[in-house]
C-alpha cells in the first residue's frame, strides 16, 4: 500500500515535509489505522494518536485524502492510492499527525458542558419522557474527535472566538435536555457575532462527521430559540 504522510518533528526537522511509504499489508489489515500501526512497526519515529480502534474514543482523527475522518473506521479498500495523510487542518502541529487540541477543547469548555439544575435533588431519578430523551439523540453521541471543527473555514479563521460545530452541538445538547434549567444563560453565552454567528452554514461539519451527526441542524435550532426569545 502506498502512503504519503505529513512528517514534522520540531526536534530534528526545520520544516514539515511529505514522506512516501510503500508498505506490505497483512490480510487482517482492513482499516487505515491497521496500515498506520503496520507502518509504525517499520518506522517507529512516525507519531500519531490512537486508542479504541472502533470509532468511539475520537483519538485518530486526521485528514485522509483531503477529508477529515477517523483512521480506525476508514476502510483501506475505499481509499485511492497513494493515500495522502495530513494532520487535522487549522490546529498547531506538535509532531507528525499529532495536533495541539487545546483551542478545540477550550471552546468545548466554554459552553458550560454539563447539566445545570439547582433544584433539590430528588431521591429517585429526574423523570424524562422517552420523547424528551429522544431530543438528545444526534447530540450526546459526539466523541469530540474535532473532525468537524477542523474542517470548518469559520473555525480556521477564528478558532479563538468561534465556538465551532463540535462546541455548538454540545451547547445545544444541554439546551435540549429537559433536566437543564440554564437555557437563558446558555443563549446569552452564545448570542454574539463571533461565538455562534460565524457559522455560515457551509456544512463541511455535516459532511465529515464520522458519527453521522449534524451540527448545522443543532446550530439552526439554537438560532431558532434566539429568535423566539427576541420576538
Amino acid at each position: 500500500m502506498r502512503l504519503s504522510i505529513y512528517r514534522y518533528n520540531p526536534d530534528v526537522d526545520a520544516k514539515p515535509y511529505m514522506q512516501d511509504y510503500d508498505i506490505e499489508l497483512e490480510p487482517t489489515d482492513r482499516m487505515l489505522l491497521d496500515a498506520l500501526v503496520r507502518l509504525k512497526s517499520v518506522d517507529d519515529t512516525f507519531a500519531f494518536r490512537r486508542s479504541c480502534r472502533e470509532g468511539v474514543c475520537g483519538s485518530d482523527a486526521m485528514n485522509i485524502n483531503g477529508k477529515n475522518g477517523l483512521a480506525c473506521i476508514t476502510k483501506i479498500a475505499d481509499l485511492k492510492e497513494p493515500v495522502v495523510i495530513r494532520p487535522l487542518p487549522g490546529l498547531p502541529v506538535i509532531r507528525d499527525l499529532i495536533v495541539d487540541m487545546s483551542q478545540f477543547f477550550k471552546q468545548y469548555h466554554s459552553v458550560t458542558p454539563y447539566v445545570v439544575n439547582d433544584t433539590p435533588r430528588p431521591e429517585t431519578e429526574r423523570l424524562q419522557s422517552p420523547e424528551d430523551r429522544e431530543e438528545l439523540n444526534g447530540l450526546y453521541e459526539c466523541i469530540l474527535c474535532a473532525c468537524c471543527s477542523t474542517s470548518c473555514p469559520s473555525f480556521w479563521w477564528n478558532p479563538d472566538k468561534f465556538v465551532g460545530p463540535a462546541g455548538l452541538l454540545q451547547a445545544y445538547r444541554f439546551i435540549a435536555d429537559t433536566r437543564d434549567q440554564a437555557t437563558g444563560a446558555r443563549l446569552d453565552n452564545l448570542e454574539d457575532p463571533y461565538r455562534l454567528f460565524r457559522c455560515h452554514s457551509i456544512m463541511n461539519c455535516v459532511d465529515v462527521c464520522p458519527k453521522g451527526l449534524n451540527p448545522t441542524k443543532a446550530i439552526g435550532k439554537i438560532k431558532d430559540l434566539l429568535v423566539k426569545r427576541t420576538v
Binding site: 461565538r195 454567528f197 438560532k223 427576541t230
Partner: protein
C-alpha cells in the same frame, strides 16, 4: 494592553435576522420588477422611463436599496470579521464601506428622482 478575546457583543442575532428579513424584501422587490416588466405594453425606453415615474416603483426601489445596503453591510462586515484580524484596519475598512454604501444610496436616489 492586555490581550483578551473579547466576545459577548450581543448583536449577532439582530444582524442574522436582519440579513434574512432584507433578503425577503429583495426577493419581493425582484418579483415586483419582473411583474412590472412583463406587464409593460412595450419594452422600449419610453415605457421604461414611464415606469420609474410611478411613486410605487420609486418608493419600492428605495426600500429595496435600504435592504440591499444593509444586507451588503452585514455581509461585507462578516467577511472582514472572518479575515481581518487587526481591529484598527477592520474599523477603517468599516468606515470606508459605510461611506461607500451611503454614497451609493445617495446616487441611487439621485437617479430615481433626477431628470
Amino acid at each position: 494592553m492586555v490581550k483578551r478575546e473579547v466576545v459577548g457583543a450581543h448583536y449577532g442575532l439582530r444582524d442574522w435576522l436582519a440579513q434574512r428579513v432584507t433578503a425577503v424584501v429583495m426577493v419581493a422587490y425582484t418579483l415586483l420588477v419582473l411583474l412590472a416588466l412583463v406587464m409593460l405594453p412595450k419594452f422600449d425606453y419610453w415605457h421604461w422611463k414611464a415606469l420609474w415615474q410611478l411613486d410605487l416603483m420609486r418608493y419600492a426601489t428605495v426600500l429595496f436599496l435600504v435592504a440591499l445596503l444593509f444586507h451588503a453591510w452585514i455581509g461585507v462586515r462578516n467577511i472582514f470579521m472572518d479575515y481581518i484580524k487587526d481591529a484598527g484596519i477592520r474599523l477603517t475598512l468599516y468606515v470606508v464601506v459605510i461611506l461607500a454604501l451611503i454614497a451609493y444610496g445617495a446616487w441611487a436616489v439621485q437617479i430615481l428622482w433626477g431628470k
